[in-house]
Protein backbone atom coordinates (compact mmCIF):
# COMPACT_ATOMS: atom_id res chain seq x y z
CA UNK A 1 0.00 0.00 0.00
CA UNK A 2 1.41 3.36 -0.94
CA UNK A 3 0.52 6.35 1.09
CA UNK A 4 -0.88 9.43 -0.50
CA UNK A 5 1.67 12.15 0.17
CA UNK A 6 1.20 14.79 2.82
CA UNK A 7 -1.85 13.57 4.60
CA UNK A 8 -2.53 15.71 7.63
CA UNK A 9 -1.98 14.52 11.16
CA UNK A 10 -5.70 14.22 11.75
CA UNK A 11 -6.20 12.34 8.44
CA UNK A 12 -3.39 9.92 9.23
CA UNK A 13 -4.61 9.09 12.71
CA UNK A 14 -8.23 8.81 11.56
CA UNK A 15 -7.04 6.40 8.87
CA UNK A 16 -5.08 4.32 11.36
CA UNK A 17 -7.94 4.26 13.85
CA UNK A 18 -10.31 3.13 11.09
CA UNK A 19 -7.72 0.54 10.01
CA UNK A 20 -7.69 2.15 6.57
CA UNK A 21 -4.06 3.12 6.83
CA UNK A 22 -1.38 0.64 7.82
CA UNK A 23 1.06 2.26 10.28
CA UNK A 24 3.82 0.32 8.55
CA UNK A 25 3.03 2.22 5.34
CA UNK A 26 3.42 5.49 7.20
CA UNK A 27 6.85 4.38 8.42
CA UNK A 28 7.81 3.28 4.92
CA UNK A 29 6.86 6.72 3.63
CA UNK A 30 9.00 8.30 6.37
CA UNK A 31 11.94 6.04 5.54
CA UNK A 32 11.79 7.08 1.90
CA UNK A 33 11.68 10.75 2.83
CA UNK A 34 14.58 10.27 5.23
CA UNK A 35 16.60 8.53 2.54
CA UNK A 36 15.97 11.40 0.13
CA UNK A 37 16.85 14.00 2.76
CA UNK A 38 20.08 12.32 3.73
CA UNK A 39 21.23 11.52 0.23
CA UNK A 40 23.81 13.43 -1.73
CA UNK A 41 26.91 15.30 -0.65
CA UNK A 42 25.02 17.62 1.69
CA UNK A 43 22.66 15.51 3.82
CA UNK A 44 19.99 17.26 5.86
CA UNK A 45 20.94 15.18 8.93
CA UNK A 46 17.91 16.15 10.98
CA UNK A 47 18.19 13.23 13.40
CA UNK A 48 20.71 12.25 16.05
CA UNK A 49 18.88 8.98 16.58
CA UNK A 50 16.12 7.52 14.46
CA UNK A 51 14.18 4.30 14.32
CA UNK A 52 11.69 3.93 11.48
CA UNK A 53 11.81 0.16 11.41
CA UNK A 54 10.42 -1.37 14.58
CA UNK A 55 6.64 -1.19 14.89
CA UNK A 56 6.67 0.50 18.30
CA UNK A 57 4.44 -0.09 21.27
CA UNK A 58 2.13 2.91 21.11
CA UNK A 59 -1.66 2.62 21.15
CA UNK A 60 -3.62 2.49 17.94
CA UNK A 61 -6.68 4.36 19.14
CA UNK A 62 -5.59 7.84 20.22
CA UNK A 63 -5.83 11.18 18.43
CA UNK A 64 -2.30 10.67 17.11
CA UNK A 65 -2.66 6.97 16.34
CA UNK A 66 0.16 5.89 14.06
CA UNK A 67 1.46 9.42 13.52
CA UNK A 68 5.26 9.52 13.40
CA UNK A 69 6.63 12.33 15.50
CA UNK A 70 10.19 13.58 15.92
CA UNK A 71 11.38 14.84 19.28
CA UNK A 72 14.10 17.39 19.88
CA UNK A 73 17.02 15.78 21.63
CA UNK A 74 16.76 17.90 24.77
CA UNK A 75 13.46 16.24 25.68
CA UNK A 76 14.07 13.02 27.57
CA UNK A 77 12.93 9.64 26.30
CA UNK A 78 13.72 6.21 27.69
CA UNK A 79 13.86 4.49 24.32
CA UNK A 80 16.36 6.77 22.56
CA UNK A 81 19.43 8.46 23.98
CA UNK A 82 19.08 12.11 25.00
CA UNK A 83 22.26 14.04 24.23
CA UNK A 84 21.14 17.67 24.06
CA UNK A 85 23.57 17.90 21.16
CA UNK A 86 26.42 17.79 23.66
CA UNK A 87 29.45 15.57 24.09
CA UNK A 88 28.82 15.75 27.82
CA UNK A 89 25.66 13.63 27.44
CA UNK A 90 26.82 11.43 24.59
CA UNK A 91 25.05 8.08 24.89
CA UNK A 92 22.95 9.15 27.90
CA UNK A 93 19.71 7.21 28.23
CA UNK A 94 17.21 8.89 30.48
CA UNK A 95 15.55 6.55 32.98
CA UNK A 96 12.30 8.51 32.65
CA UNK A 97 10.19 10.08 29.94
CA UNK A 98 9.20 13.71 29.59
CA UNK A 99 5.51 14.36 30.27
CA UNK A 100 5.07 15.60 26.68
CA UNK A 101 6.56 12.34 25.39
CA UNK A 102 4.28 10.29 27.64
CA UNK A 103 1.30 12.17 26.31
CA UNK A 104 2.34 11.72 22.69
CA UNK A 105 2.70 7.99 23.26
CA UNK A 106 -0.57 7.73 25.14
CA UNK A 107 -2.26 9.46 22.19
CA UNK A 108 -0.85 6.81 19.87
CA UNK A 109 1.98 8.94 18.51
CA UNK A 110 5.04 7.08 17.33
CA UNK A 111 8.30 8.70 18.56
CA UNK A 112 10.55 7.97 15.61
CA UNK A 113 13.71 9.63 16.81
CA UNK A 114 15.57 12.48 18.36
CA UNK A 115 16.43 15.56 16.36
CA UNK A 116 19.53 17.68 16.20
CA UNK A 117 19.84 20.98 18.01
CA UNK A 118 22.28 23.62 19.08
CA UNK A 119 23.96 22.25 22.18
CA UNK A 120 21.49 22.52 25.09
CA UNK A 121 19.32 24.75 22.92
CA UNK A 122 21.91 27.51 22.84
CA UNK A 123 22.10 28.83 19.34
CA UNK A 124 20.04 29.94 16.38
CA UNK A 125 21.41 27.81 13.55
CA UNK A 126 22.01 24.24 14.80
CA UNK A 127 25.67 24.90 13.96
CA UNK A 128 26.47 24.57 17.66
CA UNK A 129 25.52 20.90 17.82
CA UNK A 130 28.47 18.78 18.93
CA UNK A 131 27.37 16.17 16.40
CA UNK A 132 27.53 18.30 13.27
CA UNK A 133 25.03 20.71 11.74
CA UNK A 134 21.66 20.04 10.22
CA UNK A 135 21.03 21.47 6.76
CA UNK A 136 18.02 23.41 5.68
CA UNK A 137 15.98 21.10 3.41
CA UNK A 138 14.91 24.16 1.36
CA UNK A 139 18.52 25.10 0.64
CA UNK A 140 21.18 22.83 1.94
CA UNK A 141 23.81 25.55 1.84
CA UNK A 142 21.89 27.30 4.55
CA UNK A 143 21.19 26.72 8.19
CA UNK A 144 17.78 25.39 9.26
CA UNK A 145 17.75 27.88 12.10
CA UNK A 146 17.86 26.80 15.68
CA UNK A 147 18.04 25.66 18.18
CA UNK A 148 15.30 23.19 17.16
CA UNK A 149 16.79 22.98 13.64
CA UNK A 150 16.54 19.19 13.45
CA UNK A 151 12.82 19.11 14.26
CA UNK A 152 12.07 21.89 11.75
CA UNK A 153 14.12 20.14 9.06
CA UNK A 154 12.51 16.75 9.73
CA UNK A 155 9.08 18.27 9.10
CA UNK A 156 10.25 20.38 6.15
CA UNK A 157 11.86 17.33 4.57
CA UNK A 158 8.57 15.46 4.79
CA UNK A 159 9.96 12.75 7.08
CA UNK A 160 7.37 13.43 9.78
CA UNK A 161 4.19 15.50 9.62
CA UNK A 162 4.91 16.99 13.04
CA UNK A 163 7.66 17.29 15.60
CA UNK A 164 8.21 18.78 19.00
CA UNK A 165 10.93 21.21 19.86
CA UNK A 166 11.64 23.67 22.60
CA UNK A 167 11.88 27.40 22.82
CA UNK A 168 13.78 29.70 25.09
CA UNK A 169 14.03 32.72 22.80
CA UNK A 170 12.58 31.62 19.48
CA UNK A 171 14.05 28.17 18.97
CA UNK A 172 10.85 26.81 17.43
CA UNK A 173 9.55 29.85 15.51
CA UNK A 174 12.88 30.88 13.99
CA UNK A 175 13.73 27.45 12.49
CA UNK A 176 10.07 27.07 11.43
CA UNK A 177 10.43 30.34 9.52
CA UNK A 178 13.77 29.30 8.00
CA UNK A 179 12.49 25.89 6.92
CA UNK A 180 9.07 26.99 5.73
CA UNK A 181 6.96 25.10 8.25
CA UNK A 182 4.62 26.09 11.07
CA UNK A 183 5.98 26.44 14.61
CA UNK A 184 4.00 27.19 17.76
CA UNK A 185 5.43 28.31 21.07
CA UNK A 186 2.59 27.96 23.56
CA UNK A 187 2.01 30.16 26.60
CA UNK A 188 4.56 29.57 29.37
CA UNK A 189 3.02 26.87 31.57
CA UNK A 190 0.77 25.47 28.82
CA UNK A 191 2.97 22.42 28.18
CA UNK A 192 4.75 20.67 31.02
CA UNK A 193 8.49 21.22 31.15
CA UNK A 194 8.96 17.96 33.06
CA UNK A 195 11.56 16.12 31.02
CA UNK A 196 12.67 19.13 28.99
CA UNK A 197 16.35 19.56 29.83
CA UNK A 198 16.40 23.05 31.26
CA UNK A 199 18.26 25.86 29.54
CA UNK A 200 16.54 28.90 31.07
CA UNK A 201 13.65 27.69 33.19
CA UNK A 202 11.65 30.92 33.30
CA UNK A 203 11.68 31.11 29.48
CA UNK A 204 11.74 27.47 28.32
CA UNK A 205 8.64 26.01 26.77
CA UNK A 206 8.07 22.96 24.62
CA UNK A 207 6.65 23.85 21.22
CA UNK A 208 5.40 22.06 18.12
CA UNK A 209 6.18 21.96 14.41
CA UNK A 210 3.77 20.96 11.70
CA UNK A 211 3.61 21.12 7.96
CA UNK A 212 0.41 23.09 8.47
CA UNK A 213 -1.17 25.07 11.27
CA UNK A 214 -3.63 22.26 11.86
CA UNK A 215 -0.88 19.61 12.07
CA UNK A 216 0.92 21.64 14.70
CA UNK A 217 -2.34 22.36 16.54
CA UNK A 218 -3.31 18.69 16.58
CA UNK A 219 -0.07 17.81 18.36
CA UNK A 220 -0.25 20.79 20.70
CA UNK A 221 -3.74 19.71 21.84
CA UNK A 222 -2.25 16.42 22.95
CA UNK A 223 0.79 17.67 24.85
CA UNK A 224 -0.84 20.74 26.44
CA UNK A 225 -2.41 20.69 29.87
CA UNK A 226 -1.68 20.73 33.55
CA UNK A 227 1.05 18.47 34.95
CA UNK A 228 1.51 18.09 38.70
CA UNK A 229 5.20 17.31 38.11
CA UNK A 230 5.92 20.85 36.89
CA UNK A 231 5.27 23.58 39.47
CA UNK A 232 5.09 26.20 36.73
CA UNK A 233 2.50 24.25 34.75
CA UNK A 234 -0.78 26.14 34.38
CA UNK A 235 -3.89 24.46 35.72
CA UNK A 236 -6.19 25.57 32.90
CA UNK A 237 -8.44 23.71 30.52
CA UNK A 238 -7.04 23.16 27.03
CA UNK A 239 -9.38 24.25 24.27
CA UNK A 240 -9.76 22.39 21.01
CA UNK A 241 -7.45 24.03 18.53
CA UNK A 242 -9.41 23.59 15.35
CA UNK A 243 -8.86 25.64 12.23
CA UNK A 244 -11.17 28.53 11.63
CA UNK A 245 -13.80 28.54 8.97
CA UNK A 246 -13.05 30.58 5.92
CA UNK A 247 -13.43 34.33 6.19
CA UNK A 248 -13.76 34.10 9.92
CA UNK A 249 -11.53 37.07 10.77
CA UNK A 250 -14.35 39.63 10.85
CA UNK A 251 -13.96 41.64 14.04
CA UNK A 252 -10.46 40.37 14.73
CA UNK A 253 -8.00 43.15 15.51
CA UNK A 254 -4.42 42.58 14.40
CA UNK A 255 -1.77 44.81 15.97
CA UNK A 256 1.18 45.85 13.86
CA UNK A 257 4.11 47.08 15.97
CA UNK A 258 6.36 49.53 14.16
CA UNK A 259 9.33 48.32 16.21
CA UNK A 260 9.17 45.01 14.34
CA UNK A 261 9.52 46.65 10.94
CA UNK A 262 12.80 48.51 11.50
CA UNK A 263 15.20 49.82 8.88
CA UNK A 264 17.54 46.85 9.30
CA UNK A 265 14.78 44.48 8.23
CA UNK A 266 15.51 42.59 5.03
CA UNK A 267 13.55 44.29 2.22
CA UNK A 268 12.22 41.04 0.87
CA UNK A 269 11.05 39.92 4.30
CA UNK A 270 9.37 43.28 4.87
CA UNK A 271 7.53 43.09 1.55
CA UNK A 272 6.32 39.53 2.10
CA UNK A 273 5.10 40.41 5.58
CA UNK A 274 3.32 43.56 4.47
CA UNK A 275 1.61 41.51 1.76
CA UNK A 276 0.50 39.04 4.41
CA UNK A 277 -0.92 41.91 6.45
CA UNK A 278 -2.98 42.99 3.45
CA UNK A 279 -4.29 39.43 3.15
CA UNK A 280 -5.32 39.47 6.80
CA UNK A 281 -7.15 42.69 6.12
CA UNK A 282 -8.74 41.09 3.10
CA UNK A 283 -9.97 38.29 5.35
CA UNK A 284 -11.85 40.83 7.42
CA UNK A 285 -9.37 41.58 10.15
CA UNK A 286 -8.82 45.13 11.32
CA UNK A 287 -5.16 46.21 11.28
CA UNK A 288 -4.09 48.57 14.02
CA UNK A 289 -0.72 50.20 14.55
CA UNK A 290 0.57 49.44 18.03
CA UNK A 291 3.76 50.19 19.88
CA UNK A 292 5.99 47.91 21.92
CA UNK A 293 8.53 50.54 22.98
CA UNK A 294 10.84 48.29 25.00
CA UNK A 295 11.59 46.07 22.01
CA UNK A 296 15.20 47.35 21.71
CA UNK A 297 15.88 46.14 25.26
CA UNK A 298 14.61 42.62 24.62
CA UNK A 299 17.84 41.08 23.35
CA UNK A 300 20.05 42.44 26.16
CA UNK A 301 17.42 41.43 28.72
CA UNK A 302 17.17 37.98 27.27
CA UNK A 303 20.93 37.52 27.10
CA UNK A 304 21.25 38.31 30.78
CA UNK A 305 18.35 36.25 32.11
CA UNK A 306 18.81 33.19 29.91
CA UNK A 307 22.55 32.72 30.53
CA UNK A 308 22.10 33.44 34.25
CA UNK A 309 19.57 30.63 34.59
CA UNK A 310 21.62 28.44 32.24
CA UNK A 311 24.75 28.82 34.36
CA UNK A 312 22.80 27.28 37.24
CA UNK A 313 20.83 24.73 35.19
CA UNK A 314 23.96 23.34 33.59
CA UNK A 315 25.83 22.97 36.88
CA UNK A 316 24.35 19.47 37.20
CA UNK A 317 26.54 18.30 34.32
CA UNK A 318 29.44 17.58 36.61
CA UNK A 319 30.36 13.98 35.74
CA UNK A 320 29.25 12.64 39.13
CA UNK A 321 26.00 10.82 38.43
CA UNK A 322 25.51 10.54 34.67
CA UNK A 323 26.93 11.56 31.35
CA UNK A 324 30.48 11.36 30.14
CA UNK A 325 33.36 11.60 32.60
CA UNK A 326 36.73 11.72 30.85
CA UNK A 327 39.18 9.44 32.65
CA UNK A 328 42.40 10.33 34.41
CA UNK A 329 41.37 13.10 36.79
CA UNK A 330 43.71 13.21 39.79
CA UNK A 331 41.23 14.95 42.05
CA UNK A 332 37.70 16.23 42.20
CA UNK A 333 38.43 19.67 40.73
CA UNK A 334 40.14 18.11 37.75
CA UNK A 335 37.21 15.75 37.26
CA UNK A 336 34.80 18.69 37.12
CA UNK A 337 37.02 20.58 34.72
CA UNK A 338 37.72 17.68 32.39
CA UNK A 339 34.03 16.81 32.28
CA UNK A 340 32.87 20.35 31.71
CA UNK A 341 35.55 20.90 29.06
CA UNK A 342 33.19 18.77 26.92
CA UNK A 343 30.82 21.73 26.64
CA UNK A 344 31.10 23.54 23.30
CA UNK A 345 32.26 27.16 23.00
CA UNK A 346 28.79 28.75 22.89
CA UNK A 347 27.65 26.84 25.99
CA UNK A 348 30.82 27.84 27.81
CA UNK A 349 30.29 31.44 26.74
CA UNK A 350 26.76 31.49 28.12
CA UNK A 351 27.74 29.75 31.35
CA UNK A 352 30.51 32.32 31.81
CA UNK A 353 28.19 35.20 31.01
CA UNK A 354 25.51 33.88 33.34
CA UNK A 355 27.96 33.23 36.15
CA UNK A 356 29.28 36.75 35.74
CA UNK A 357 25.91 38.52 35.83
CA UNK A 358 24.89 36.61 38.97
CA UNK A 359 28.18 37.07 40.80
CA UNK A 360 28.62 39.29 43.82
CA UNK A 361 28.81 42.92 42.86
CA UNK A 362 27.17 42.50 39.45
CA UNK A 363 23.80 40.98 40.34
CA UNK A 364 22.01 44.30 40.71
CA UNK A 365 23.58 45.92 37.67
CA UNK A 366 22.71 43.04 35.38
CA UNK A 367 20.36 40.34 36.62
CA UNK A 368 18.13 42.41 38.88
CA UNK A 369 17.93 45.16 36.27
CA UNK A 370 17.09 42.69 33.52
CA UNK A 371 14.26 41.28 35.63
CA UNK A 372 12.84 44.77 35.98
CA UNK A 373 13.13 45.49 32.29
CA UNK A 374 11.49 42.14 31.65
CA UNK A 375 8.44 43.39 33.51
CA UNK A 376 8.33 46.46 31.27
CA UNK A 377 8.54 44.26 28.18
CA UNK A 378 5.72 42.06 29.42
CA UNK A 379 3.81 45.23 30.34
CA UNK A 380 4.05 46.49 26.75
CA UNK A 381 2.26 43.37 25.55
CA UNK A 382 -0.34 43.53 28.31
CA UNK A 383 -1.14 47.09 27.28
CA UNK A 384 -1.54 46.16 23.65
CA UNK A 385 -3.79 43.18 24.34
CA UNK A 386 -5.76 45.16 26.92
CA UNK A 387 -6.47 47.78 24.26
CA UNK A 388 -8.55 45.31 22.27
CA UNK A 389 -5.88 43.82 20.02
CA UNK A 390 -6.42 40.08 19.51
CA UNK A 391 -3.10 39.22 17.93
CA UNK A 392 0.08 40.93 16.85
CA UNK A 393 1.60 40.24 13.45
CA UNK A 394 5.32 40.67 12.76
CA UNK A 395 8.06 39.04 10.72
CA UNK A 396 9.44 36.00 12.60
CA UNK A 397 13.04 36.81 11.72
CA UNK A 398 14.81 39.85 10.27
CA UNK A 399 16.25 37.79 7.40
CA UNK A 400 15.58 34.45 5.73
CA UNK A 401 17.88 31.50 6.47
CA UNK A 402 21.53 32.49 6.42
CA UNK A 403 24.53 30.53 5.21
CA UNK A 404 26.69 28.30 7.36
CA UNK A 405 29.41 30.21 9.15
CA UNK A 406 27.81 33.58 8.43
CA UNK A 407 27.01 34.38 12.06
CA UNK A 408 29.42 32.27 14.08
CA UNK A 409 32.21 34.86 14.18
CA UNK A 410 30.48 37.43 16.34
CA UNK A 411 28.26 35.84 19.00
CA UNK A 412 26.10 38.94 19.30
CA UNK A 413 25.38 38.86 15.58
CA UNK A 414 23.88 35.39 16.10
CA UNK A 415 21.88 36.66 19.08
CA UNK A 416 20.24 39.26 16.85
CA UNK A 417 18.52 36.49 14.85
CA UNK A 418 16.21 36.24 17.86
CA UNK A 419 15.29 39.90 17.96
CA UNK A 420 11.60 39.40 17.03
CA UNK A 421 11.10 36.17 18.93
CA UNK A 422 12.62 36.63 22.40
CA UNK A 423 9.88 39.03 23.46
CA UNK A 424 7.19 36.35 23.51
CA UNK A 425 9.40 34.22 25.77
CA UNK A 426 10.15 37.13 28.08
CA UNK A 427 6.43 37.96 28.30
CA UNK A 428 5.42 34.29 28.46
CA UNK A 429 2.80 34.70 25.74
CA UNK A 430 1.96 32.26 22.94
CA UNK A 431 3.36 32.88 19.47
CA UNK A 432 3.29 31.13 16.15
CA UNK A 433 5.29 31.30 12.95
CA UNK A 434 3.85 30.29 9.60
CA UNK A 435 5.22 30.49 6.08
CA UNK A 436 3.89 33.63 4.41
CA UNK A 437 5.92 33.66 1.22
CA UNK A 438 9.47 33.52 0.03
CA UNK A 439 12.42 35.68 -0.93
CA UNK A 440 14.82 34.35 -3.52
CA UNK A 441 13.44 30.87 -3.04
CA UNK A 442 13.86 31.01 0.75
CA UNK A 443 10.81 30.79 2.99
CA UNK A 444 9.75 33.80 5.01
CA UNK A 445 7.96 33.34 8.30
CA UNK A 446 5.23 35.57 9.64
CA UNK A 447 4.77 35.67 13.38
CA UNK A 448 1.53 35.95 15.33
CA UNK A 449 1.54 36.64 19.05
CA UNK A 450 -1.48 36.67 21.36
CA UNK A 451 -2.29 37.16 25.02
CA UNK A 452 -1.63 34.44 27.61
CA UNK A 453 -3.46 31.17 26.86
CA UNK A 454 -4.95 32.56 23.63
CA UNK A 455 -3.49 29.76 21.47
CA UNK A 456 -6.95 29.39 20.00
CA UNK A 457 -6.74 32.90 18.56
CA UNK A 458 -3.33 32.18 17.05
CA UNK A 459 -4.53 29.00 15.39
CA UNK A 460 -7.67 30.67 14.12
CA UNK A 461 -5.89 33.65 12.55
CA UNK A 462 -2.97 31.60 11.25
CA UNK A 463 -5.12 28.97 9.60
CA UNK A 464 -7.24 31.63 7.92
CA UNK A 465 -4.13 33.26 6.53
CA UNK A 466 -2.67 29.88 5.58
CA UNK A 467 -5.81 29.00 3.67
CA UNK A 468 -5.82 32.33 1.89
CA UNK A 469 -2.16 31.97 0.88
CA UNK A 470 -2.79 28.44 -0.38
CA UNK A 471 -5.78 29.58 -2.40
CA UNK A 472 -3.54 32.18 -4.01
CA UNK A 473 -0.98 29.50 -4.80
CA UNK A 474 1.49 30.99 -2.36
CA UNK A 475 1.76 28.08 0.06
CA UNK A 476 5.23 26.60 0.42
CA UNK A 477 5.63 23.67 -1.94
CA UNK A 478 5.74 20.66 0.32
CA UNK A 479 7.54 18.52 -2.21
CA UNK A 480 10.29 21.00 -2.96
CA UNK A 481 11.99 20.45 0.34
CA UNK A 482 12.24 16.71 0.13
CA UNK A 483 13.70 16.63 -3.35
CA UNK A 484 17.30 15.70 -3.80
CA UNK A 485 18.92 19.02 -4.61
CA UNK A 486 20.96 19.67 -7.71
CA UNK A 487 24.61 19.20 -7.10
CA UNK A 488 26.19 22.34 -5.69
Amino acid sequence: MTLRSHLSVRELSAGVRAAEIDPAAILKHARDALARADSGPAPVAAFLAVDLDSPGTQRADGPLAGVPIAVKDNIVTTEHPTTCGSRILEGYRSPFNATAVQRLRLAGGRIVGKTNLDEFGMGSSTEYSAFGPTRNPRDRERVPGGSSGGSAAAVAAGIVPAAIGSETGGSVRQPAAFCGVVGIKPTYGRVSRYGLVAYASSLDQIGVFGRTVDDAAAVLEVIAGHDPLDSTSADRPVPELRSAEKGALEGVVIGVPEEYFPAMLDDGVAQVCRAALRRLEGLGAELREVSLPTTPQAIPTYYIIAPAEASSNLARFDGVRYGVRPPGAADLKEMYERTRALFGPEVKRRIMLGTYVLSAGYYDAYYARAQRVRRLIAGDFENVFASGVDAIFTPTTPTPAFRFGERTQDPYEMYLSDVFTVTANLAGIPALSLPVGSVGGLPVGGQLMAGPFAEETLVRVASALEGDLAAAGLAPDPSAASDVPDSH
Binding site: P296, P300, S311, L332, K333, E337, Q371, V373, Y412
Partner: protein, 106 residues
Protein backbone atom coordinates in the same frame (compact mmCIF):
# COMPACT_ATOMS: atom_id res chain seq x y z
CA UNK B 1 33.88 47.34 29.02
CA UNK B 2 36.92 45.18 29.40
CA UNK B 3 37.19 42.11 31.54
CA UNK B 4 40.48 41.41 33.24
CA UNK B 5 42.08 38.00 32.94
CA UNK B 6 41.72 37.66 36.71
CA UNK B 7 37.98 38.25 36.44
CA UNK B 8 37.69 35.71 33.65
CA UNK B 9 39.65 33.21 35.74
CA UNK B 10 37.49 33.80 38.79
CA UNK B 11 34.29 33.32 36.84
CA UNK B 12 35.68 30.20 35.15
CA UNK B 13 36.65 28.84 38.55
CA UNK B 14 33.14 29.45 39.93
CA UNK B 15 31.68 27.65 36.91
CA UNK B 16 34.27 24.84 37.06
CA UNK B 17 35.36 25.56 33.52
CA UNK B 18 39.06 25.21 32.79
CA UNK B 19 39.79 27.53 29.87
CA UNK B 20 42.93 27.11 27.79
CA UNK B 21 45.06 30.22 27.10
CA UNK B 22 43.42 30.86 23.70
CA UNK B 23 39.96 30.22 25.05
CA UNK B 24 40.65 32.65 27.87
CA UNK B 25 41.53 35.50 25.54
CA UNK B 26 38.59 34.86 23.26
CA UNK B 27 36.27 34.60 26.25
CA UNK B 28 37.44 37.88 27.71
CA UNK B 29 36.90 39.56 24.35
CA UNK B 30 33.49 38.00 23.68
CA UNK B 31 32.15 38.68 27.14
CA UNK B 32 33.33 42.27 27.02
CA UNK B 33 31.63 42.81 23.69
CA UNK B 34 28.38 41.15 24.81
CA UNK B 35 28.35 43.12 28.05
CA UNK B 36 28.76 46.32 26.05
CA UNK B 37 25.44 45.58 24.35
CA UNK B 38 23.85 45.17 27.78
CA UNK B 39 24.31 48.90 28.38
CA UNK B 40 21.16 49.30 26.32
CA UNK B 41 19.32 48.50 29.55
CA UNK B 42 20.77 51.47 31.38
CA UNK B 43 18.71 53.94 29.40
CA UNK B 44 15.51 52.79 31.10
CA UNK B 45 14.61 54.02 34.56
CA UNK B 46 13.47 50.89 36.36
CA UNK B 47 13.92 52.02 39.95
CA UNK B 48 10.20 51.68 40.62
CA UNK B 49 9.64 48.52 38.61
CA UNK B 50 9.32 45.27 40.54
CA UNK B 51 11.54 42.49 39.22
CA UNK B 52 9.74 39.85 37.18
CA UNK B 53 10.83 36.46 38.44
CA UNK B 54 8.82 34.40 36.06
CA UNK B 55 5.60 34.20 34.18
CA UNK B 56 3.44 31.94 36.34
CA UNK B 57 0.68 33.83 38.07
CA UNK B 58 -0.03 31.08 40.58
CA UNK B 59 1.61 30.24 43.90
CA UNK B 60 3.82 27.18 44.24
CA UNK B 61 1.57 24.14 44.06
CA UNK B 62 2.07 21.72 46.95
CA UNK B 63 1.87 17.98 46.92
CA UNK B 64 0.61 15.76 49.71
CA UNK B 65 3.34 14.23 51.87
CA UNK B 66 3.06 10.76 50.43
CA UNK B 67 5.95 8.57 49.34
CA UNK B 68 5.77 7.71 45.65
CA UNK B 69 8.45 8.97 43.30
CA UNK B 70 8.83 8.70 39.55
CA UNK B 71 10.47 5.31 38.99
CA UNK B 72 13.81 4.87 37.24
CA UNK B 73 13.24 2.75 34.15
CA UNK B 74 16.96 2.01 33.86
CA UNK B 75 19.06 1.14 36.92
CA UNK B 76 21.53 3.77 38.13
CA UNK B 77 24.58 1.78 37.09
CA UNK B 78 23.25 2.06 33.55
CA UNK B 79 24.06 5.77 33.47
CA UNK B 80 26.47 6.39 36.36
CA UNK B 81 30.04 7.02 35.17
CA UNK B 82 31.48 5.30 38.29
CA UNK B 83 29.41 3.12 40.59
CA UNK B 84 30.72 0.85 43.35
CA UNK B 85 28.95 -0.93 46.21
CA UNK B 86 25.82 1.12 45.62
CA UNK B 87 27.65 4.44 45.69
CA UNK B 88 28.50 7.03 43.07
CA UNK B 89 32.27 7.28 43.20
CA UNK B 90 34.32 10.40 42.51
CA UNK B 91 37.99 11.30 42.93
CA UNK B 92 38.82 12.86 46.25
CA UNK B 93 38.84 16.59 46.78
CA UNK B 94 42.56 17.39 46.98
CA UNK B 95 42.24 19.63 50.01
CA UNK B 96 40.19 17.06 51.88
CA UNK B 97 43.15 15.17 53.19
CA UNK B 98 44.05 18.31 55.08
CA UNK B 99 40.69 18.18 56.86
CA UNK B 100 41.16 15.04 58.87
CA UNK B 101 37.55 14.88 59.89
CA UNK B 102 35.71 16.88 57.28
CA UNK B 103 32.01 17.31 57.84
CA UNK B 104 29.19 17.67 55.40
CA UNK B 105 29.09 20.09 52.55
CA UNK B 106 26.22 22.17 53.76
Amino acid sequence: MALSQTEVDQIAQLARLALGPDERDAMARDLASILDHMRELEILDVADVAPMRGVSDHAAPMRADEPGADALEHPIDDFAPAWEQGFFVVPRLAALDADASAGDAS
